[in-house]
Structures are given as C-alpha cells and as structure tokens.
C-alpha cells in the first residue's frame, strides 16, 4: 500500500493523543508543557501533510513555520512562569499551587 495522506494523519493523531494524555495526567508543570509541545507537533504534521497532498502550494509549510515559532515563544514564557512558581512554592507540582482555592 503506497504511503498516502491517511498514514500521516494517523501518525499525527497518535502523537496528539499522547500529548493529550500527558497534559491530563502530569503533575509536573514542565511535563504539562511537554504535552502541549506534542500537540503542537501533531498539528504541524497535519499542516505539512495537507500542504503536500491537498494542494501543491507552500501555505501549509508557511503556517507550520509560524506554529513552530509561536511554540518557541510560548515555551519560553511558560518555562519562565514555571521558574517563578518554583521560586514561590519551592516545588513545581501543580497540586501545590492552590492558593486561590477556597
């Protein structure tokens, strides 16, 4: 069976599900950010697969470059916030950050 669009979509779906599971079950704040990166990567694989198979233009690849760049900016800010959390609570367990809970 020749490698077609569906193969890439299934790979990106599996990566998305792993990212979703990571975001749902991790208590380490950096682990949650890693799950978000997996989800963004799965979206990128989809963008580029559709750029190759759906239309011959470069639009999907341009979008993928924007996604990569925004993921870098978001990872930077997220990890700076995690460092702030570590300084305040002395742990990065997200269960410990419940100061606003009643």
């Amino acid at each position: 069976m020749t490698i077609g669009l569906h193969h890439y979509l299934v790979v990106s779906l599996i990566v998305f599900c792993c990212g979703l599971f990571t975001v749902l079950t991790r208590r380490n704040a950096i682990g949650i950010l890693m799950g978000v990166e997996l989800i963004l990567n799965s979206a990128n694989i989809n963008y580029i697969a559709f750029s190759r198979f759906g239309s011959g233009s470069y639009d999907g690849q341009v979008f993928a470059i924007f996604v990569i760049m925004l993921a870098a900016a978001e990872a930077t800010i997220g990890l700076a916030i995690v460092l702030g959390i570590y300084r305040t609570f002395d742990t990065i367990d997200v269960e410990a950050t419940d100061t606003l809970r009643g």
Partner: protein, 165 residues
C-alpha cells in the same frame, strides 16, 4: 517497498517516542523521548518534501525548545516526579477520555473524503517559502517578530530576581 520501510521506521520512532513522553515516570526521560519525537517529525517532513521546515524543526525544537526545557528541569530539581494522579482526572479516566477522543477523530479522518492531489511537483521549498513570507504573508511575518520580541522581554522580566532595596 524500501520507501515504505523507511517511512514506517521514522513513523515508529515518532510514535514510540510520543508514548515515551506520555508514560515515563521520570520527567528527564520524557524530555529525551520528546527529542525522539521532534527528530521523527523532522523525518516525516522530509518524506513530505518540506525540506526547509524539517531544518527549522530540528534547529528550533531540538536546538531551542528542548534545550530550554532541559535547563528548566535542571533549575527546578524535580527528578522524582509525583505524577501518578491529578486530583481531578486520574490516570485511568484520562486514558479512557483520550481513547474516546482519539477514536472519534480516527473515525472522522479515515472516513472523510479528502481531496487528494497525487501529481504534486516537489522541489526545494526555501525560495517559495521566503517569497511567501515577503509577499503574501508579510503582515503575519512582521507581527511574528513583534511576538518574539515580546516573549523575549517578558521571559527576561518574569525570570529575573527581585531587586530588594
């Protein structure tokens, strides 16, 4: 045949690394498995004739984001990860939810009538992408530079030590 074998090898690397990120108990193991996922994704981009994006993926994700994540892990010293269950969603409900969502999406994507063009000319993409950035996508490109500048300044402000007078 050889093409399919190489594709399954790269796709297998991506999928197994993603499973490693999700199910590792140690966050450092997850970070290195994430490196495998990023490299596998770059390999998949090469299969899809996206050479420039594959290079950008390796440079920015592996060389930037992954190194930043490892630094943050090092600075926060949490090697023993207590990640087994969140209070709101435990591990088994999360697994069930993920399987439901993934199954729904799998049914949708395998049944949808995608318009597939098989005769797509592939070649080096750098010129075309650069052209797109400066002609059609000029405004998002400039806004992206502003976003990156803001993120840079914001990260520095968020992470510097408080000055006590």
């Amino acid at each position: 045949m050889i093409y399919a074998a190489f594709f399954y090898a790269v796709a297998g690397l991506t999928v197994i690394s993603a499973l490693g990120v999700a199910f590792s108990s140690n966050v450092v193991y997850s970070a290195f498995a994430m490196m495998g996922t990023f490299l596998g994704a770059a390999g998949l981009y090469v299969f899809l004739a996206a050479d420039f994006v594959a290079g950008v993926q390796v440079l920015v994700y592996v060389g930037g984001i992954l190194v930043l994540t490892l630094f943050a892990i090092m600075l926060t010293h949490q090697i023993q990860d207590v990640q087994v269950s969140n209070r709101s969603v435990g591990r088994f409900p999360a697994f069930v939810l993920t399987v439901l969502i993934g199954g729904g999406m799998a049914v949708a994507l395998l049944r949808a009538p995608w318009l597939v063009k098989e005769e797509v000319a592939t070649g080096p993409t750098t010129y075309g992408i650069g052209d797109s950035f400066l002609n059609q996508y000029l405004l998002p490109f400039e806004l992206a530079s502003v976003v990156l500048l803001t993120a840079l300044v914001g990260a520095i402000v968020l992470s510097r030590k408080e000055l006590r007078d």
